[in-house]
Symmetry: C2
Subunit: 206 residues, 2 copies
Amino acid sequence: MESQDQLSTEQAILEAAEALFLMQGYARTSTTQIARRAGCNQALVHYYFRTKAQLFDRIFTGKLQSFVAEFLGAYSQGTTFERRICGIVDAHYRILARNPLLPALIIGELAADPERIESVKTGAGPLPAELFGRLEADLEDEIAAGRVRPMQARELLLDILSLDAFPFLAAPLLKRLPGIAGESPEKFYAARCEAVKRTLINSLKP
Amino acid sequence: MESQDQLSTEQAILEAAEALFLMQGYARTSTTQIARRAGCNQALVHYYFRTKAQLFDRIFTGKLQSFVAEFLGAYSQGTTFERRICGIVDAHYRILARNPLLPALIIGELAADPERIESVKTGAGPLPAELFGRLEADLEDEIAAGRVRPMQARELLLDILSLDAFPFLAAPLLKRLPGIAGESPEKFYAARCEAVKRTLINSLKP
DNA sequence: CATAAATTTAATAACCTTATTAAATAGCTT
DNA sequence: AAGCTATTTAATAAGGTTATTAAATTTATG
């Protein structure tokens, strides 16, 4: 039943589909294209996954939920608030370096099909809200102690998310900018991560 | 030759196409759909604009270039560096409030079709590079005078672009977040603009 | 080996898309 | 009104897409 080739064909389709969906999005990717990349007949894509939509969901529902959960849940155990913020940024850049194309896909697909957002939200569970609550409580303590300027937790979270995610969202554009085009992505992102931490830490000072 | 109805049909097609392209992207929008929204026959779309690609270009090439130019060129004439930074952010939020869906379209379409980036770059002309140079020179002066911490102009520009653009890119997601869902977009963006200015100004302190 | 099950293929139905064409209609202009 | 042009329409060609089907092939198993 479950021979080696069978599993490897199914796996080949999954991998081809993931790569193509990430590079081109859902609408621009055809099952024919997926089959060609996986090195199999087009009907096989439907044999294993029935429909293109099911194949997409199979790949991305889990990926999306774990990504969102990891991303919002990267509130680290640092000794100081400053260290915890830096921990978040480091964690975000690690996650993003592993999935550089995922943010653009999320934006693109969720904008086109907002009902999918609900499934992501329910899938991510209560973790994000819980962690936001912890960040909020910590921030209030820091502000009360005079170590951080008065600000809302929501704005801090948006600052962090913006600074971390934007370089990956705008990568196709940034890659071509004169000052960046030469650099390797790894070096660029590593330097950017350090700069973001400096910006964030400095922005919190009273 | 150019009667009132003729121009209004052409205009109706342009407006329908712009709205649909912005909401759904290029690949998900069909000329049939455009015609339906414009209230005309599908062949008319091709009568006026020949191909779907030409229609898209006709609408967005100019829009894109002026958007990029405006966005990068919003280096205002403030009396102090701090004021100039705030001027940029205010300008960005004004531009974005007028074109809230454009950033996501740019990201989505340029990621799928990187060669279009070149046309945007050439269309934007030397303005961006020139203005970046001015920001860089000003920043160096401020750092030399000890009014701003040492940092690279590139990182400052990325800080600004990230903080300004992200809320619009992630709007479909953010709109559903518990703490934001209730608010009107205008209020949310206005509050965010103020918060971004505070974050940026504070992040520059030595 | 025989046979049953799983996998793979070619063929194709049904549908949608872009773009063109030729005919019909409307709008001017004289 | 006739004639010219511009606009609009219905029809359709050509091609691509998803998904199914039935037949062929491979693989597993008694």
